[in-house]
């Protein structure tokens, strides 16, 4: 019988186990209820996607965390005021519309203060459908990032297993190169890569389920 201590969670960690075990639908429920964690999980899940969309709309990276937060807050306000009807449209469309408005406001302000950054990039992406497409792309990317972060955390980013996987899969180095680098045999690099890929495949449905239809790329 081992005495154990409760692990301390790192807030905002995209690889948080619990955040993946809750579907978006359940999170939305939580936003209605008393669950104070629902908000932080919701934020953790969608802030990077929103930031990604805003980034593609020409917002400077420095501004992303705050602006993404604003978008989320606006959504939650609408949500609590029951303005958001899930049957009428997806979460994606709703948030994407808010993001679009915020980005437009931001660019307007920026143009007034003569900064005019990213304006042209934004102009091209003004249609709602475009923003939703961005959302899908960013969501897919975020899911992959979440997967990789989770895998990294499971294996430990210092571990050679992940290092081998990272070198050959994420950076496209040759297995021989990676083996030399990590002082492993080539087959060990393959084994590590294979293991990580297998684990990724196991994790993928969990992440997909957590994001639900709003994470779907279709």
């Amino acid at each position: 019988m081992a005495l154990w201590m409760l692990p301390s969670r790192v807030p905002g960690d995209p690889a948080d186990d619990r955040s993946l075990s809750i579907t978006t639908t359940a999170l939305l429920e939580g936003l209605h209820g008393e669950d104070s964690e629902a908000w932080s999980m919701f934020e953790q899940r969608y802030r990077p996607i929103i930031a990604g969309v805003l980034r593609r709309m020409g917002i400077e990276p420095r501004e992303l965390p705050d602006l993404a937060q604003d978008v989320l807050l606006s959504f939650v306000r609408d949500f609590r005021a029951d303005k958001y009807d899930r049957d009428r449209g997806r979460l994606r469309g709703w948030i994407a519309a808010i993001a679009r408005n915020r980005a437009r406001d931001f660019h307007r302000r920026a143009s007034r203060t003569v900064l005019r950054r990213g304006e042209s990039a934004f102009e091209e992406l003004s249609a709602a459908a475009d923003v939703e497409r961005l959302w899908d792309e960013e969501c897919a990317r975020h899911k992959v990032r979440t997967l990789v972060e989770r895998l990294k955390r499971e294996t430990g980013f210092q571990d050679t297993t992940f290092a081998a996987f990272e070198l050959v899969q994420l950076q496209g180095r040759s297995a021989a190169d990676a083996a030399r680098e990590l002082d492993l045999s080539i087959s060990a690099v393959y084994v590590a890569t294979h293991r990580c890929r297998k684990r990724l495949a196991e994790l993928r449905p969990i992440v997909d389920a957590a994001f639900g239809e709003d994470g779907a790329t279709g």
Partner: protein, 1110 residues
């Protein structure tokens, strides 16, 4: 099972992948794979070149400038610095949406494979360091170009030498020493984990604008090679280079590093810290190393005669001198044995105590200790003066000292054991379960004479979790505390186990009578001498329970024959009371088989008996009825009432005063003419719930299993309903039973299946009390006011204002036509006015008994959405700000004359938030404009300030000190400004960050007495600061992750209404903090002084404390 493979024949694809699947069993095959290029190609085609890899790569692509060799997933914001060792960027990490410092080392620095391996190892070690003054490493690896990198916490700050140069001359020594102490403690923390820094120098220590130092680059430093001919020193930086590759920094290197010794230890870091201390206090770089002295014994390179500035600033100059000299001794045996010892000595210097570098006599030390431990004095004064409220809490909290420990330390102080007392203060409050390792280290460092880890320990304490220990047992169910609080008895599928507190280790396992089930009802007799268990028997023809009693004064042994009863017995005097198989109420002894029946007038089919702990009440249950008896003066049992309303089989327990009992879902008052079911405002759920007595008679713990939480209910008065006061979460399974220890310090819970937990139910934040229904309001509350009539809240988009009493009980709703009410204020004079602001519309005024009316604006003003309203304290004006950056001021009769309006937007970006505050005398109105602008409006008009130069972003809130001489501004960029009203520049501005990000402040308030300044941010923190010095007193995490929109002091009590964003509106109640602290301290003082109940303890503690004072 090794698969047989012929080496010259290539295996099939399936065989190859099977080998990758099970490498341990496929050595031969893998050996073939290592050698065979054909097979490698086959594997790689599938494993590396497919679309999965492509997808992964494309997801991690970032828009970085071309030509940079950077790790995937990071986007560069700017280059921070470039040096001999590598380059540092400020970068954005998309996956976590956070700002990081990305350090890419020059490939030359780590060119060989073994060096890169070592880099990985070092990073692995360093990334395990979690210390508030060490920059955290988030990630590490290699760039596609093969350059090692690591991603760290981003700290916006200055190198420590430049930071010190920027300090004013007056009184800076203490600040310097405090900063240095933190640096040394951070290094000591790493050293104790076996990690040397080896390259400490001012440029590796950043100090942020709050004065918090961060040590960088642990594990990145290389061993400094031996001085060789190809070394050349860069005169500017003092960095040694060898063919362009960084090697080390002579200016800060220790003699043994310069000699090229390989067996470096902590004392190398001691040396460098000594030089940094020298640099910090003198403002001069350390004198160049005299090479001739290397290797010889000597006084080191720091001259014994200190430079002038050093003397001018240091009252303790002699001691400081000795500390630096000892740290920088050439022979490392003459230095402090560890960085911790150095930090400890600097701590002594700060406290005005004798330093170890020059130990004085014991008497002097003792005398100084008492002089310099105001905390102990504060506690003593508090005992004497019957808890003068908030001040005590602030001091104790500011010192971060655990409540009960203070009392223990006092006892030692009384016994003349000053050193012991200090140890107690600084070690004992570390919880032995959560901090076992830390505690051991701390004890070790104490034993070796270092008190260095004190500050670190205090910080560890702040991270304390409420659940302090947990252990897994199969099907844990019933539990009971031994009366001495040292053991918990738990029944589980394995029988009864006795667990030690707080380790939760199994001390004993007890088995029951043969043929009985498991998970018996288990209880200690209140006298602590015996434990008994009730095993239910359901197999016909017998039904009921078989009871076994153990004597637990030494090794547990059954102390009498097992006996049968209906249901579980209940302690009664020195024995047990139970219903015997003849359905009589009987009393039995714990050590003998004797049994006598009680003369209780029996009802038919009685099956359960519960006696209150003192034996004053007895509840008998049977059939569908519960009967309550009370013992009369002549020891007779008198029936009081009977009721069919509840069922005794799920008893939670009696309240401390024995007037209430928890049964299943309900708490029932039993001392009246009939049972009274008490109201819970937010009831415990229905799925396997229960209620259990809390530590005082007015408190109950409720179990709510549908959201896996344990709730603490309390009520403000005898007649008020119970409300949730606290919540313990993080529970995985269904809670079965709860019980708190006799001192109320710990709560134990069992879960089915399988976990026993220990909680600190009064961990932080203890003084947070929901405002009745508002704490779960269905809407976002943006603003509220508290006055003697109660609380008025602006309920966001509900289109109404809520008027309630201060307990949160609703008085009435006032419908208003607004869409998004973001501001509200009430003035109560000859007539009562309520003003509110609709962010999507108008400013409104509601007079008593009349419909809301729109306040007329100046026709020339833009019609921006109304934002905030505030009445002048005497009600003679009303100020409002709108979204377009206009200030409107109305004078009575408010509705009849348009406002005087001022355009404060000044052509700047208009921000959605604005702030407005009246001075207490009503003569000055402070109002914020866009982007950090701040104005004073007086009778003579609007006066602009130069605030934009000092405040980066929109001022979100303003508050005046009660004396009117100080106005505080907070803004979104983490800055708090101290202003003398009408001045153009702030008296000072302080930046507050959380991690490396500036806090986004949204609200500010000043306590009634003006001593404490509270600032709320966007992630649920309420900081308490000394309003004069800005010193951080405490951080209350009130609404994690939520916006703290407004902080509103209660004008009549020592508490603050925290209006959070998404449905959080709570009191931060300092009186309650005091009560909890007082109770806990009293208990401990009392326990030290012997037995006794709380009121008696108070007197005794006071008398005892009086005896302590000279």
């Amino acid at each position: 099972m090794t698969k047989s493979v012929q080496e010259d024949v290539c295996p099939s694809r399936e065989a190859l992948f099977a080998a990758l699947e099970e490498p341990d069993a496929s050595a031969t095959l893998l050996a073939h794979l290592n050698a065979c290029e054909r097979c490698q190609k086959l594997v790689e085609r599938e494993l590396i070149g497919d679309e999965v890899a492509g997808e992964l790569r494309s997801a991690l692509i970032s828009a970085n400038p071309p030509g940079l060799d950077l790790p995937p997933g990071y986007e560069i914001l700017q280059e921070v610095r470039r040096g001999g060792q590598g380059v540092v960027y400020e970068a954005y990490h998309a996956a976590t949406c956070r700002r990081v410092a990305l350090k890419a080392l020059l490939s030359g620095a780590w060119s060989t494979r073994s060096e890169r391996r070592r880099f990985r190892r070092e990073i692995r070690l360093a990334s395990a360091l979690r210390h508030p003054n060490i920059v955290a490493i988030y990630d590490a690896g290699e760039t596609p170009g093969g350059v090692p990198y690591c991603a760290m916490e981003f700290v916006d700050g200055l190198h420590v030498d430049r930071y010190c140069d920027g300090l004013e001359d007056s009184g800076p020594l203490r600040v310097r020493l405090l900063v240095f102490q933190k640096i040394a403690e951070a290094v000591s923390y790493a050293n104790r984990r076996g990690i040397l820094h080896r390259d400490l120098k001012p440029s590796n220590v950043l100090v942020d604008s709050r004065g918090e130092p961060f040590v960088l680059d642990f594990g990145l430093a290389r061993d400094v090679g031996p001085p060789a001919d190809d070394l050349s020193a860069d005169p500017e930086s003092g960095e040694l280079t060898r063919g362009g590759a960084f090697v080390g920094t002579t200016a800060w290197a220790s003699p043994e590093q310069l000699r090229g010794d390989r067996d470096l230890d902590e004392r190398t870091d001691v040396y460098a810290l000594g030089l940094i201390l020298y640099r910090m206090v003198t403002g001069q770089p350390p004198p160049p190393e005299d090479r001739s002295s290397v290797g010889s014994a000597g006084s080191g390179r720091v001259p014994h005669a200190p430079p002038s500035r050093y003397v001018a600033t240091a009252r303790a100059g002699g001691d400081l001198d000795r500390v630096v000299a000892k740290a920088c001794a050439v022979d490392r045996r003459d230095r402090y044995a560890s960085t911790g010892a150095l930090a400890a000595d600097v701590g002594r210097l700060l406290r005005g105590e004798p330093v170890l570098a020059h130990p004085p006599g014991l008497a002097l030390r003792a005398a100084r200790w008492i002089q310099t431990h105001p905390l102990a004095v504060v506690v003593m004064m508090a005992l004497l003066l019957a808890w003068p409220a908030a001040r005590l809490v602030r001091e104790v909290r500011a010192a971060g000292v655990g409540r009960d420990i203070v009392a223990g330390a006092l006892e030692q102080l009384a016994a003349g054991e000053h050193g012991q007392a200090e140890q107690t203060l600084f070690t004992e409050f570390l919880d032995p379960t959560t901090n076992a390792l830390a505690l051991r280290r701390l004890r070790e460092s104490f034993e070796s004479g270092e008190v260095s880890a004190r500050r670190w320990a205090l910080r560890e304490l702040c991270l304390e979790q409420r659940c302090v220990a947990a252990v897994e047992l199969d099907s844990a169910c019933y539990l009971d505390w031994s009366p001495d609080g040292e053991t918990i008895a738990v029944s589980s599928a394995d029988g009864i186990v006795l667990l030690s507190v707080p380790e939760l280790e199994v001390v004993h396992e007890l088995t029951g009578p043969e043929g009985t089930g498991r998970r018996p009802h288990v209880r200690y007799h209140p006298r602590g001498t015996h434990l008994y268990a009730s095993y239910s028997v359901v197999s016909p023809p017998r039904s009921g329970s078989i009871n076994r009693v153990w004597d637990v004064r030494s090794e547990p042994t059954p102390s009498r024959s097992d006996f049968e009863s209906f249901a579980s017995p209940s302690p009664y005097g020195a024995g047990l009371v139970f219903v015997n198989p003849s359905r009589e109420v009987a009393v039995t002894h714990l050590d003998a088989d004797a049994e006598e029946t009680l003369p209780v007038e029996l009802v038919s089919r009685v099956e359960t008996v519960l006696a209150s702990p003192s034996g004053a009440f007895m509840l008998l249950g049977g059939g569908e009825l519960v009967h309550c008896f009370r013992k009369t003066a002549n020891e007779e049992w008198q029936p009081v009432w009977r009721s069919p309303e509840f069922d005794l089989t799920s008893l939670g327990g009696f309240s401390a005063d024995e007037t209430q009992v928890a049964v299943g879902l309900h708490v029932i008052r039993i001392d009246g003419p009939g049972p009274e079911i008490l109201e819970f405002r937010e009831p415990v759920g229905r799925r396997n719930p229960g209620c259990y007595p809390g530590p005082t008679s007015g408190e109950w713990f409720g179990v709510r299993n549908q959201d896996s939480s344990i709730l603490l209910y309390a009520r403000e008065s005898e007649t008020a309903p119970y409300r949730i006061e606290g919540r313990l979460s993080g529970i995985e399974y269904q809670v079965q039973r709860l019980g708190y220890s006799a001192d109320a310090g710990l709560l134990a819970s069992t879960e089915d299946p399988g976990t026993v937990r220990l909680w600190k139910p009064y961990g932080d934040p203890p003084g947070i009390v929901g405002l009745g229904d508002h704490s779960s309001a269905q809407n976002q509350v943006h603003d509220a006011r508290v006055d003697r009539d109660g609380v008025i809240t602006a309920d966001g988009s509900l289109g109404s204002l809520s008027l309630s009493d201060r307990g949160g009980a609703s008085i009435r709703q006032v419908p208003v036509p607004g869409n998004l009410i973001t501001g509200v204020d009430r003035y109560r004079g000859e007539s009562t006015w309520i003003a509110c602001a609709d962010r999507a519309g108008e400013f409104l005024l509601v007079a008593e008994g009349e419909d809301p009316a729109v306040l007329p604006r100046n026709p020339e003003a833009n019609a921006g959405g109304a934002n905030l309203v505030r009445f002048r304290p005497d009600g003679r004006e009303l100020a409002g700000v709108d979204q377009e950056g206009w200030l409107h001021v109305w004078a009575p009769p408010f509705l009849e004359r348009p406002a005087t309006s001022f355009d404060l937007s000044d052509g700047r970006t208009k921000e959605r938030l604005g702030a407005v505050a009246w001075s207490p005398d009503g003569l000055v109105l402070a109002v914020s404009g866009g982007e950090g602008a701040l104005y004073w409006r007086t009778a003579s008009g609007i006066h602009a300030t130069d605030s934009s130069k000092h405040l980066a972003q929109t001022v979100t809130d303003l508050a005046f000190h009660p004396n009117g001489q100080l106005c505080i501004s907070v803004d979104k960029s983490g800055r708090i400004g101290w202003w003398t009203p009408l001045n153009r520049v702030p008296d000072r501005v302080e930046l507050f960050t959380k991690g490396s990000t500036p806090m986004e402040f949204l609200s500010v308030a000043i306590s009634k007495d003006g001593d404490v300044l509270f600032a709320g941010n966007s992630v649920g923190d309420v900081l308490a600061l000394d309003s004069e010095t800005g010193r951080l007193l405490a951080n209350f995490q009130v609404a994690e992750g939520k916006h703290v929109m407004r902080l509103i002091p209660d004008p009549e009590r020592d508490r603050l209404l925290v209006v959070g964003g998404l449905r959080t509106i709570v009191w931060l109640d300092f009186e309650r903090l005091d009560r909890i602290l007082a109770r806990r301290t009293l208990y401990w003082v009392g326990r030290m002084r012997g037995e006794g109940s709380e009121p008696a303890l108070a007197d005794e503690a006071r008398a005892w404390a009086e005896g302590l004072l000279p």
